[in-house]
């Protein structure tokens, strides 16, 4: 009996270990942008998928950071060597949508493969970013996060501030910054991804447009509109805080994360996906709060929008390979895989079911604050201003915004001048994109 059991276990093991050898499996290429812990987690997902069935094999490769991965995909397409699945960050969404002959929309891939696919299973604010105005999902959301406020509770205590005090509005945050500064803090507040958090999400959260034509969803003839009075007031306040030493600018990307994790900074606006790093490195008591809003702005707080990447299916492959793609995408959206991904990384669960499973598992109770990003995204129905952004040349526009914001932080320009200039410069790029994609 024992021998028989041992034998069958070994057989099963052998089968699992060598699916390629035993069957002519269809292989598909998956290019992604993850390294470190995230890279390991992606590799694990792929391994689980390959072991779970024998018809298809996914070969995943890392192609550099987000920009580099997109470039690798584009260069490969030009050389007709494109992968089946390409990870593209949210900023590249408009570029991919405009490339009609280069991508196969996800809803089509799923329908052609006869795969089970329900777009409504995905969280509205996540789905909306990658869906056309008539409800067709073009790419599969993969990793999505949203900005939150990270708090160094020990730093607040040291400054004589109740670490549980209300930080829901910028007015209240301002008062706390005064106290932190008065108690000698060198870095009361810092931020990562300034454009994403303090302009893009800021606009959605206050239900005001970032760009016309529903933030570009309704057409490529959109114009930037982030130089309105509410945004100007916020950036001006941040600029004043910078001058008074209450806001410390560390860099255009997430350089500020190092300052926060080492305990220098008390407050930090950063993606919810900063969780893994902060949890691993912070030697102090930290907390998560919803992103603050300005009290008195009508419609605030609306919902925040996402950052992160989605998976695009490239055109030009064989039909049975697309079946493999459909199977893999379905696997990635399955509840267990998504729930695990959400809990491991701090990225949002992209399906409603994965969020519910995580709650049922008791994860939010054991890790207080990890559900704040989900709540922030889902309590209100998204409006035309908070569905997302769809702007061509957006990576470059972000660069322009970075430059102009730096002029505000250094005191060279006031907020209105800087934002006007950023909008004017960005509009020129939008017109070029329109010209190329009409």
């Amino acid at each position: 009996m024992f021998k028989k059991a041992l034998f069958s276990t070994m057989l099963a093991g052998a089968l699992l270990a060598s699916p390629v050898a035993s069957f002519a499996a269809t292989e598909i290429q998956f290019w992604h942008a993850f390294t470190g812990r995230l890279g390991e987690l992606v590799a694990e997902q792929v391994k689980t998928f390959n072991a779970s069935q024998s018809d298809y094999t996914v070969a995943a490769s890392h192609k550099g950071n987000y920009s580099e991965t997109l470039n690798a995909g584009i260069a490969a397409f030009r050389a007709r060597e494109q992968p089946h699945i390409l990870m593209v960050f949210e900023v590249g969404t408009a570029t991919m949508m405009a490339a009609k002959g280069a991508v196969n929309p996800v809803y089509e891939v799923m329908a052609n493969a006869g795969a089970r696919f329900d777009p409504d299973a995905y969280i509205g604010t996540v789905k909306g970013y990658y869906t056309t105005t008539d409800g067709k999902m073009l790419s599969l959301p993969f990793n999505s996060s949203t900005p939150v406020l990270w708090v160094n509770r020990d730093a607040l205590k040291a400054a004589g501030i109740d670490p549980d005090s209300d930080l829901s509005t910028w007015q209240k945050v301002g008062a706390v910054l005064d106290k932190l500064k008065a108690s000698g803090s060198k870095c009361p507040l810092t931020t990562a991804w300034q454009s994403w958090i303090h302009l893009e999400n800021f606009s959605a959260y206050h239900n005001i447009p970032f760009a016309t034509k529903d933030n570009g969803f309704k057409g490529v003839d959109t114009e930037l509109a982030f130089n309105g009075p509410v945004q100007v007031k916020h950036i001006q306040t941040m600029g004043d805080w910078a001058k008074q030493g209450k806001f410390f600018y560390a860099g255009r990307r997430n350089e500020g994360g190092a300052n926060f994790r080492s305990g220098e900074c008390a407050l930090f606006t950063e993606s919810s996906a900063g969780y893994a790093g902060i949890k691993a490195e912070a030697k102090f008591d930290f907390g998560v709060r919803p992103l603050p809003y300005w009290d008195g702005v009508q419609g605030a707080p609306q919902n925040t929008i996402i950052g992160g990447a989605s998976l695009w299916v490239m055109s030009g492959h064989k039909p049975d390979e697309y079946k493999a793609v459909a199977a893999f995408l379905n696997f990635l959206s399955s509840t267990d895989i998504q729930a695990k991904w959400h809990q491991d990384t701090g990225y949002l669960p992209i399906t409603v079911a994965a969020g519910e499973k995580t709650r049922a598992d008791g994860f939010y109770q054991k890790n207080p604050g990890t559900d704040i990003a989900v709540i922030q995204m889902t309590t209100r129905q998204p409006t035309a201003n908070s569905k997302g952004l769809r702007l061509g040349s957006f990576d470059q526009i972000r660069g322009i915004i970075d430059e102009e914001l730096e002029a505000v932080w250094s005191g060279d320009k006031d907020a209105q001048t800087a934002l006007n200039s950023a909008a004017e410069r960005g509009n020129k790029l939008l017109r070029r994109f329109e010209q190329a994609n009409r």
């Binding site: 997109l70 255009r252 300052n259 470059q396 410069r425």
Partner: protein
């Protein structure tokens, strides 16, 4: 009577220069021609459709005040990099030339930095001047100077200049050192007997004799600063703060490979091609007149 070696017939000389012509054609003329061609279009990134715009890309660029500003940034940057890499190199070469013992060791050590790739050099300097953990910025802080190249434009420029020039000091040192060895001893000894001091000998005899080398290095270093420094800028400042360190070649890279705007990127490389071509002609026409071979 000059002695000339000439070939009989055409076939052999043609066959001998043929490989060089092929290499130039494949690796220089073909890509340059493509860039000129592409600069007349606005293509979509995937190459699915292109739209002919004539000189539209050039018009778009030259009416952009930020693009025009980056000409000045490039000029300042190149000039500073050339100075920072040539003056210390000359000084070190003169010192090494006077050494009697251990010159070999000294020379070898000075050549090392040249082996460091620009992007790696960028990371090294970035670490030293990192506003949070940098050794140098910490010492500056102790002295009461608040170093912050993330927001201070002059400091950012200084940092990328030093990081770009540092590795080149070795390269320039090699050439200066070799040239110094070739300066005839008899001339210097004669001057010394006449009572000329070391520095007087240096400025009136050695420096003029070094002028062909100096001129060669000037051209090479300016070309280096224009084209090969983008790795340093990419790792240290990303062109910022604001546009303080956005030099022309960095913008070619950023617009083409980050912004996927291949039309504008191609037009920029054509402008750069013309600019450096013109610069080299000017150098050979005017500066070279003052060079004594």
């Amino acid at each position: 009577m000059e002695k000339l070696v000439t070939f009989k017939g055409w076939l052999l000389p043609l066959a001998l220069v043929f490989p060089q012509i092929v290499i130039s054609a494949v690796f220089f003329f073909y890509p340059a021609g493509q860039a000129v061609w592409q600069s007349l279009f606005i293509p979509d990134p995937f190459g699915l459709s292109t739209k002919f715009v004539g000189l539209g890309n050039f018009e778009f660029l030259l009416t952009d005040e930020f693009y025009r500003a980056s000409f000045l940034t490039s000029a300042v940057f190149s000039l500073l990099v050339t100075l920072v890499s040539m003056v210390p190199a000359l000084f070190l070469a003169v010192m090494a030339d006077r050494l009697i013992k251990g010159a070999g060791v000294y020379r070898t050590l000075l050549i090392w930095p040249y082996a460091v790739a620009p992007a790696v050099a960028g990371v090294l300097w970035l670490f030293m001047f990192n506003t949070r953990v940098g050794v140098v910025s910490w010492y500056l802080g102790q002295l009461g100077y608040d170093w912050n190249h993330v927001l201070n434009e002059a400091e950012a420029m200084g940092l990328v200049v030093v990081a770009s020039g540092w590795g080149r000091v070795s390269y320039n040192f090699l050439f200066f050192f070799a040239a110094l060895q070739a300066v005839p001893r008899s001339v210097i000894e004669a001057a010394a007997i006449d009572g000329a001091s070391f520095w007087r000998r240096f400025f009136t005899i050695v420096l003029p004799l070094l002028s062909p080398t100096t001129f060669f290095l000037l051209v090479v270093n300016i070309v280096y600063a224009f084209f090969e420094t983008f790795g340093v800028i990419h790792t240290i400042t990303g062109g910022g703060p604001q546009q303080a360190t956005t030099i022309l070649v960095y913008k070619v890279f950023a617009d083409g490979f980050v912004g996927q705007d291949l039309g504008s990127s191609a037009a920029q490389s054509v402008i750069l091609l013309l600019l450096v071509g013109a610069l080299t002609v000017v150098q050979f026409k005017f500066v070279e007149k003052r060079v004594h071979y």
